[in-house]
């Protein structure tokens, strides 16, 4: 049951790793998010070196976003122009992120930055999600009519220059917000080993005001590019992509997702978002505990040269 990971240089129980991939794949099937934010901490907790976990995650998310993007493409759910602009930003962010990751590694701040970054990101997004979904559930119970999404642009976005037409999304907006958004997500991918769908999707809906039908497909399309480039950059800069580990995770996830999608389709949207919100906040609290609690040993030893 044990298999040796040639890059991580440890032997792991492969059933355990496939199981983790399946569990996280199940959740991503239910909630429609990548699940990288769960898998990276899980892998580190299992004993995979953080550098290997983050880089291999990028590789694993490439696989799941290929599946996702293909599915949405068949349903005509991808705005390729918007995806392209986001991807350009993402590539810049990924290059910046991999460099930043190396600097953090040299100064010994990777672990803290990654954990603190997760805590901030997950608690704010989980909080927003919970808040919004609880309101929606209450409104439904009271019998309020569903709120109409206003397709009105924020005035500050309308004032920005370099406007461009996104035919598929029926938008005419500046390229600066999607470029900046793409860059931010690229940095997150490189440093935290997440696809960034859980940042990208809400931002596309609430900031860019894209029609919801094209949001998930377009984000998958952008994530596909960014994670592919991040994988290559990590392979070149840090030599930390473990193909055996990636393969095990992908195998597990491919099956998990299918079951997840079936369960997810039976749940209501608001309940789904409330559950995901609880999950995300729980992960954030667990990670925060790790930062606050007194460690068993305040010293840690890692292989390498700073």
């Amino acid at each position: 049951m044990e298999i040796y990971l040639p890059i991580a240089e440890i032997s792991v129980n492969w059933i355990m790793i496939v199981g983790m991939g399946a569990a996280v794949g199940f959740l991503s099937g239910v909630f429609g998010v990548g699940g990288g934010f769960l898998l990276t901490p899980l892998l580190v907790f299992y004993g995979i070196p953080p550098g290997v976990a983050v880089a291999t995650q990028a590789c694993h998310i490439t696989a799941s976003s290929v599946s996702g993007a293909l599915t949405h493409w068949r349903r005509n759910g991808i705005d390729f122009v918007m995806g392209g602009v986001l991807a350009v930003g993402g590539l810049v962010g990924s290059i910046l992120g991999v460099q930043l990751f190396r600097i953090l590694q040299q100064t010994g701040q990777v672990e803290f930055t990654v954990t603190a970054g997760y805590v901030l990101l997950l608690s704010s997004i989980g909080g927003l999600m919970l808040n919004e979904s609880v309101r929606a559930i209450r409104a439904r119970r009271r019998g309020d009519p569903p709120q109409l999404t206003r397709h009105v642009q924020h005035s500050w976005i309308l004032r920005l220059p370099l406007k461009m037409r996104f035919r598929h999304s029926k938008l005419y907006i500046s390229v600066i917000p999607p470029l900046a958004l793409g860059t931010l997500v690229g940095i997150l991918t490189a440093i935290l080993g997440v696809g960034g769908g859980f940042v990208l999707v809400p931002a596309m809906i609430y900031i860019l005001r894209m029609p919801t039908g094209a949001v998930v497909g377009t984000s998958q399309f952008q994530i596909l590019f960014v994670t592919a480039v991040t994988t290559i950059l990590h392979a070149i800069t840090n030599h930390t992509v473990d193909l055996v580990l990636a393969w095990l995770l992908v195998m597990g996830a491919a099956f998990g997702v299918q079951f997840g999608v079936r369960v997810g389709s039976k749940l209501r949207g608001e309940e789904l978002r409330a559950l995901l919100g609880i999950l995300v906040v729980a992960v954030a609290l667990r990670l925060l505990f790790g930062l606050v609690a007194t460690p068993d040993d305040i010293y840690s030893v890692v292989v390498g040269v700073p």
Partner: protein, 255 residues
């Protein structure tokens, strides 16, 4: 390279020995090559040896055997976290070079009974006596704290071992020691050293090389990732793309 002065010293010590201390040592290993394959979960090796020209006149309590396995040098960074506004943040890091990636020592009696502190220091016997270099300015106290933390951590990770009483005597002159090798060992050249002490001085010593190496697919993948990282990255992406497509094709949503 730091091993050369120690070995030289050992030879000089032996040359200076009086000729009548005629007890000598032969030793061997159960294997001289540990291959890391995909099913590698760690292993055991056995060091065995015999005291040749065994002198029954030497009192048994004067005779000590020490078995040491040293792995290849692995550079390490040791970090200390401190509490800053309630959060544990890395505040200090010291890189160490010269420490072996694996270190095992077994002796017939506790080391401080086997020889004087000077002798133990000189042969680097005992994890706490391994010398480490750093290029960061730090006080001796700080270096000592960080060194102790390294030994503590690596002992917890089963890469450093200090075992008294784990040398088993099969007869008066024949002995063996079992050495546990976990799956996390670094690959490279190891040395197995066996020392025979008489009343606190080394009378005989043997050093045998031992190799730990990834083989087959593991070796090729590791080399590939280091020698052609760009192609390796491309292969990783291509594999992910193919698997993603396969997932899509197999579980294609109906309609």
């Amino acid at each position: 390279m730091r091993r050369i002065p120690t070995l030289l010293l050992l030879l000089l010590t032996l040359a200076a020995m009086p000729a009548h201390a005629a007890e000598d040592l032969v030793s061997g290993l159960s294997t001289d090559l540990i291959q890391i394959r995909s099913d590698f979960t760690g292993t055991d090796i056995v060091v065995f040896g015999a005291i040749e020209t065994f002198d029954p006149g030497t009192p048994a309590e004067d005779r000590d055997i020490v078995v040491v396995i040293r792995g290849p040098e692995v550079p390490r960074v040791v970090r200390r976290r401190d509490r800053v506004f309630g959060l544990w943040v890395t505040r200090r890091q010291i890189p160490f070079t010269g420490l072996p990636g694996y270190y095992f020592i077994a002796s017939t009696r506790p080391l401080d009974l086997v020889a004087s502190a000077d002798t133990l220091e000189r042969f680097e016997l005992g994890p706490s006596r391994l010398t480490a270099d750093t290029d960061v300015p730090a006080s001796p106290e700080e270096i000592a704290q960080f060194h102790a933390a390294t030994v503590r951590t690596l002992t917890r990770e089963q890469l450093y071992w200090e075992n008294t009483n784990s040398i088993e005597f099969l007869s008066r002159s024949l002995f063996r020691a079992r050495i546990p090798v976990p799956s996390t060992v670094p690959s490279g050249e190891y040395r197995a050293e066996v020392y025979l002490f008489h009343g606190g001085t080394v009378v005989s010593a043997q050093s045998t090389p031992l190799f730990v190496d990834k083989t087959g697919f593991e070796r090729e993948l590791y080399d590939f990732s280091n020698e052609a990282p760009f192609s390796y990255g491309l292969v990783a992406v291509f594999m992910s793309g193919a698997l993603g497509w396969l997932g899509f094709a197999l579980f294609r949503p109906r309609g």
